[in-house]
Symmetry: C2
Subunit: 148 residues, 2 copies
């Protein structure tokens, strides 16, 4: 009885999503390590996706990411220390700074995106391109519905 339940729980959608996400993330991260990028960990992706060409304030990132501004401050500090980000004072607001990607940061981003593409191609082959693409689109549509 419990055995059966365990099986059921083990295969519910949440579990499957969790396991696949872990696999994906782990594989991307290890590809980055192979490329010599070792400083950046998962935590830093709380910040990185929000950095744009025009610069962004740390409070903005905190708000969008849903974490405290102190946590964001720490992550930015680290990424700046590694040379991936540049932090410059906001010319229009003496209290604020703006965060930008450095050249190294841009390059990293390119590499990271390359990695995800390679990985998706690899996964595509495992279950067939058509099934994979349908699956991905269904996931995206579902997410859009949920976030609406």
């Amino acid at each position: 009885m419990t055995q059966e339940l365990t099986q059921l729980r083990d295969m519910h959608l949440g579990r499957v999503l969790l396991k696949l996400e872990r696999q994906f993330t782990q594989q991307v991260l290890s590809q980055l390590v192979e490329q010599g990028i070792t400083e950046i960990t998962l935590r830093h992706f709380v910040v990185i996706p929000f950095v744009t060409d025009v610069g962004i304030r740390s409070v903005e990132i905190a708000k969008k990411a849903g974490v405290s501004k102190q946590a964001v401050g720490k992550l930015i500090e680290e990424l700046e220390g590694y040379g991936y980000l540049e932090v410059r004072p906001d010319p229009h607001d003496g209290r604020a700074s703006l965060v930008f990607l450095s050249d190294k940061g841009e390059h990293f981003l390119q590499t990271a995106i390359e990695s995800t593409k390679i990985l998706e191609k690899r996964w595509q082959q495992l279950i067939g391109a058509e099934r994979f693409n349908n699956m991905k689109q269904a996931l995206i549509d579902l997410l859009v519905c949920l976030e609406a």
Copy 2:
């Protein structure tokens, strides 16, 4: 340019999986809270899926879950304190104990499984049953390939 890249990264498979998994987990957890189950958090699911009718040792759980036995010990202690688990000495090994689900634990499990089923039904309706089912099966097949 960066804007475009951000968009791309934002929609890669890993991100989609992550967001959907969070939504799923959060919705299940809040359903459980609505049912009055407030003590159990996500961490406890490191332990719960491994508990079976015949009992299991904490080291076994640690091995299977890939965390330290100390961490597992703590989680078991908590769950025992809340009344979801029972820990009895192993009659065949004086060093060991065996972990079981209590009646309360079994009931919780039923409730949790119910919640996931309800949630899946709800999600099914968002993108259509057939698409949803195909999607889920593709995810499972993919996972099986990856874990093989």
